[in-house]
């Protein structure tokens, strides 16, 4: 799916995610912008990152 197909989280200077979630994403080299958020008001949770890590890598869109 193209990036447009992903639900993007609430994102100002930083994603709406707690330090623990940001750390988990960082530790696993994940850009939080690409993780579909499930929390209130677009909050990306630690569980969202864990789900994202377990899901198969997204197929790159055809160039």
């Amino acid at each position: 799916a193209a990036a447009g197909g992903l639900a993007t989280g609430y994102f100002n200077d930083k994603p709406l995610a707690t330090p623990a979630t940001r750390k988990l994403a960082r530790d696993n080299n994940v850009d939080l912008r690409s993780v579909p958020p499930t929390g209130p008001q677009g909050r990306t949770t630690k569980a969202d990152v864990e789900t994202f890590l377990r899901s198969p890598a997204p197929v790159a869109p055809a160039a």
């Binding site: 707690t18 330090p19 623990a20």
Partner: protein, 471 residues
């Protein structure tokens, strides 16, 4: 019935639960009546939370004066406690806050009537007015917020001067030389610790094997050691059996769990064995509400009783008997009556014990967490390692963080030490927001503050503290 005045909601009681509920109802456009039989503000403002804390803070200062010589503030001499002045000041605070409640009710548009309310039907209340006469009211919803009252002991009947409850104990006209406190719960220990800091010789008698049952044992141990160090005699597993007047005071007979009896002579006895809900004489039977064995009124997650139009909030609806629980319950019920979808969905009701040192906690104790099947890991930061605590000369105690061993979710935080009551807010917010230990550990806490101890305690649980050894 034709003469009954109509409201959207009637709130019975003007304490923390009652006035908060009435204010919120009025804010949300409900025509609201608040009925109070004594003084607005209830126990909390008139002889509970606020008056006790005013005295406790002053007593704490009185104690802190003792070590000022050591840090270079010399030549002062010990102060005399002029109780009349102390009381006048305390009363001025109470007056200001109680009159503040009155104006808040008014400016938010709630009506107030002084008198004793009785429920006469699912939608009707009769009030025996303080100024005389009886008045009838009707409303779509009735909120019972009648609070709780001191429990007495038949073997030690209150006389208002030498055998007293908390209500009289915060209105002392002298500091007793020797004080016996019956009950090692929050109220007994707070007031006992306060009198001790004012110079009284204090004995605490508790029937159970532990003080402050339910509170983290390590926290209690630190507070208990500190109180004892200052001269308090603490007798657990002891019960008061009766008393005798002597020439020099009151001799109270106590018996331990092995049946061994002894006598303690004191000047004043404070009975602080608990509070009972005010659910009698309210007319509950006429609408079919039956309080439980202890007198508490059962409610659901929005505060509704078994009668759909009648709600109960605050102390009368059950434990914990705390003002901040009363506030939030009242807001939820008010919003629900006004048609909102509120609910009592909090994760934790934190608590503070204003002994010296203070204890405060939010969430689960280690034991509770284990009982719930959690595998836990505990972090701890002693105030003895805190530069700020050293600067304040209050290094007793610690912050203890209980986290889930695998997820690192913060399950509970337990603090004993300086300003514990103020520090616990952060833990409460963390627990409500589902914080992991990393969240608290990675949040920058300003230096040098007591708040850093919260952070370091989380770091310690994670095994990555740099300010203390990771066990």
């Amino acid at each position: 019935m034709a003469t009954a005045e109509r409201f959207d909601a009637i709130v019975i009681g003007g304490g923390p639960a009652g006035y908060t509920g009435a204010i919120r109802l009025a804010q949300l456009g409900q025509r609201t009546l608040c009925v109070e039989k004594e003084d607005l503000g209830g126990v909390c403002l008139n002889w509970g939370c606020i008056p006790s804390k005013a005295l406790i803070d002053t007593a704490h200062m009185n104690h802190k004066l003792k070590d000022l010589e050591a840090v270079g503030l010399v030549g002062m001499g010990a102060p005399r406690v002029e109780v009349a002045k102390l009381q006048a000041w305390k009363n001025s605070i109470v007056k200001k806050l109680v009159s503040g409640v009155g104006s808040l009710l008014k400016s938010n548009g709630a009506s107030t009537v002084f008198g004793t309310a009785r429920i006469t039907g699912p939608n009707s209340v009769s009030v025996a007015l303080r100024e005389g006469g009886e008045k009838q009211y009707e409303a779509k919803a009735i909120v019972i917020a009648t609070g709780s009252s001191t429990i007495g002991l038949p073997s030690l009947p209150f006389d208002g001067r030498t055998i007293v409850g908390a209500r009289e104990a915060v209105s002392l006209d002298a500091i007793p030389k020797r004080l016996l406190v019956l009950g090692g719960g929050v109220i007994g220990l707070e007031l006992g610790s306060m009198y001790q800091n004012f110079g009284a010789q204090v004995t605490v008698v508790e029937a159970l094997p532990q003080l402050l049952t339910g509170v983290d044992k390590d926290c209690v141990a630190v507070a208990q050691r500190s109180l004892a160090k200052r001269g308090m005699t603490i007798l657990v597993n002891h019960k008061a059996m009766g008393h005798e007047r002597t020439k020099t005071g009151i001799a109270v007979k106590v018996v331990d769990d092995k049946g061994v009896a002894s006598t303690i002579e004191v000047d004043v006895v404070l009975v602080a064995i608990g509070m009972a809900p005010n659910s009698k004489g309210l007319g509950l039977e006429t609408v079919g509400i039956t309080p439980d064995a202890k007198g508490f009124i059962a409610t659901n997650e929005v505060g509704r009783t078994n009668v759909p139009s009648i709600y109960a909030v605050g102390d009368v609806s059950g434990a914990p008997l705390l003002a901040h629980k009363a506030f939030k319950e009242a807001v939820v019920t008010a919003e629900v009556i006004a048609g909102h979808r509120s609910a009592k969905d909090w994760k934790t009701i934190p608590a503070a014990v204003f002994t010296d040192p203070e204890i405060a906690y939010a969430g689960l104790t280690e034991e509770e967490a284990v009982r719930k099947g959690r595998e836990v890991k505990v972090g701890r930061m002693p105030f003895a390692a805190s530069g700020r605590a050293m600067a304040m000369r209050e290094t007793e105690g610690f912050v203890k963080t209980v986290m889930d061993k695998s997820t690192h979710e913060i399950l509970g935080v337990h603090i004993v030490g300086p300003r514990a009551s103020d520090m616990i807010s952060e833990a409460a917010l963390g627990i409500e927001m589902g914080a992991f230990a990393e969240d608290i550990a990675l949040t920058i806490h300003p230096h040098p503050t007591l708040g850093e101890a919260m952070m370091i305690s989380s770091e310690h649980a994670l095994g990555q503290a740099t300010d203390i050894l990771n066990r």
